[in-house]
């Protein structure tokens, strides 16, 4: 245990000594990785914001069914019966053509003009509300109802919400894919940096082996180096995101306040930030491990 702890201390001293030997180069690597991570983090935050916005939309949109004014009573009864057996129907409201015209007349202050019309041009209407927002369900309703002779038109204002959700889901998949690619990039860049270090330190590695160093003793400083660079890149990214949100959020808030919306971008929680930094550090370690495994243990 004591020897292990001594070796750990030695490895960290070695890491800091190597950092001190070329601080500018290492700082540039960390900065480059950090900026890449910032872009990913911001993309993620925007996506999460969009997700929140979509989640805030009414889950139960309405489906409007306009009856054919020339439909027979039997056809109307068939329509009414069909509406009653629609699956996952939460609520239905019937607006007669007379009530619709009256409301329209009032709203638009048409007054006498409405009475001059030879016939009421508005159809009887049903406003149907599903219990869940499911595009497939709405499409099924539309198909069923449109086939009835008493139906003139079926309109839905929920489809676009579903489409928006699908769009956000697609966006999430794209961001996850980008995150995977970026993680691969981080692993590759740090792996390459560690590999270059190994090549530069081959004489030291040879001597160390000859005087009894184990593979773990030799590998440990390189692994810690990868861990440190990954950790620092993660911290740079978190700091960058914080700066961006501090700068961007007030501007967005002003803009969104006019629209009656809440902020699209919200600074992630401390736990999320910590997880982000930890993931970055682990990726750095992974890159170093791959380089060490390839170069030293083969």
């Amino acid at each position: 245990m004591k020897a292990w702890w001594v070796h750990v201390q030695y490895a960290w001293r070695t890491v800091f000594r190597r950092w001190a030997e070329a601080p500018f180069g290492h700082a540039l690597t960390v900065l480059g990785l950090g900026v890449s991570l910032i872009l990913l983090a911001v993309l993620f935050m925007v996506l999460m914001g969009a997700q929140r916005a979509v989640d805030g939309l009414p889950a139960q949109g309405a489906v409007l069914v306009y009856a054919n004014p020339h439909a027979s009573d039997a056809d109307r009864q068939q329509l009414s019966a069909q509406i009653d057996v629609l699956p996952k129907l939460a609520h239905k409201q019937f607006i007669s053509r007379a009530a619709a015209l009256s409301e329209l007349t009032q709203k638009l202050s048409l007054g006498e003009m409405a009475h001059q019309l030879p016939d009421n041009p508005l159809p009887d209407t049903w406003v149907l509300t599903p219990s869940v927002l499911d595009v497939t369900l709405i499409q099924q309703w539309t198909q069923t109802l449109t086939a009835l002779p008493a139906v003139m038109l079926v309109q839905s204002d929920t489809v676009w919400v579903g489409q928006l959700r699908a769009l956000v889901n697609t966006g999430r998949h794209i961001v996850l894919l980008l995150a995977g690619l970026l993680a691969l990039g981080l692993v590759s860049i740090l792996g390459l940096a560690v590999r270059l270090q190994i090549v530069a330190r081959l004489p030291e590695i040879d001597v160390s082996r000859m005087i009894g160093a184990t593979d773990h003793f030799i590998a440990r400083p390189f692994l810690y180096f990868g861990l440190l660079e990954g950790l620092l890149a993660g911290l740079v990214a978190v700091f960058g995101v914080w700066l961006l949100t501090v700068d961007l959020l007030p501007r967005l808030d002003v803009l969104l306040r006019y629209e009656g919306q809440t902020s699209l971008i919200v600074l992630p929680s401390l736990q999320t930030q910590a997880a982000f930094v930890l993931a970055s550090a682990l990726l750095g370690w992974l890159g170093a491990w791959l380089a060490v495994r390839q170069a030293l243990w083969r």
């Binding site: 004591k2 020897a3 292990w4 001594v6 070796h7 201390q9 030695y10 030997e21 004489p203 030291e204 040879d206 001597v207 160390s208 082996r209 000859m210 005087i211 009894g212 160093a213 184990t214 003793f217």
Partner: protein, 215 residues
């Protein structure tokens, strides 16, 4: 302490470096292996330190067959051996003290203990006042002394010195030999490989090697 039984060593496509070597060294002995360049002296030392494995035969170190050691066990064996390399193998990006500290760090000595031992080793070879210097700033003789300090820092029971006086003038060579003799007097087993027959002192056992065979 060390026993060679019918040891041969050859590299693929090359000639036999050692052929049927039988040799036994006792704890606390000082042995000088002499022979011309290419005779197999360095290979003999490398086999003792498990830096090479025999092609045939067995090398025993403290009743352990080195040829059968697991790869993971080799480093632990090497920590009990101080190796003075022919080409020094010093680390030029570390200072003198850092070079001597390396085997102590490898062996897991605490920082304080390691520093004390490293400075004691440097004191023994007369380089304590140069601990902050870089090896490049040292003369050939000083570099060799530094190499010896690194080899003895962990106080190993066995020191293997490959041409320790190789490129040094007589005065420096004698001082290096005196140091190794002193370590031997303190109970350390010392094996010196040298092409220079004059290195040999009458007091110590000499093994001659010629074209891979002991004569």
């Amino acid at each position: 302490m060390i026993r060679f039984e019918e040891v041969s060593k050859h590299y693929s496509g090359g000639k036999d470096i050692l052929q049927g070597v039988n040799l036994s060294l006792e704890q606390g002995e000082m042995v000088v292996v002499t022979g011309q360049s290419g005779a197999g002296k360095t290979t003999l030392l490398k086999l003792m330190a498990a830096l090479e494995r025999p092609s045939h035969g067995s090398v025993w170190l403290n009743e352990q067959n080195i040829g059968h050691l697991r790869r993971s066990a080799v480093p632990w064996l090497r920590r009990n051996i101080g190796f003075v390399f022919q080409d020094h193998r010093l680390l030029f990006d570390r200072d003198v003290l850092g070079n001597v500290l390396l085997p102590l760090e490898v062996a897991g000595f605490g920082r304080k203990d390691a520093l004390a031992r490293a400075r004691a080793a440097l004191d023994k070879v007369g380089l304590l006042d140069r601990e902050k210097s870089r090896p490049i700033a040292l003369s050939g003789g000083e570099q060799q002394r530094l190499c010896i300090a690194r080899a003895v820092a962990t106080r190993p029971p066995l020191i293997l010195a490959d041409e320790p006086t190789g490129n040094l003038d007589r005065e420096y060579a004698n001082s290096i030999l005196d140091m190794l003799i002193n370590f031997n007097r303190q109970g350390t087993t010392v094996v010196i490989a040298s092409h220079d027959a004059d290195t040999v002192t009458t007091k110590h056992r000499t093994v001659r090697i010629h074209r891979g065979k002991l004569t």
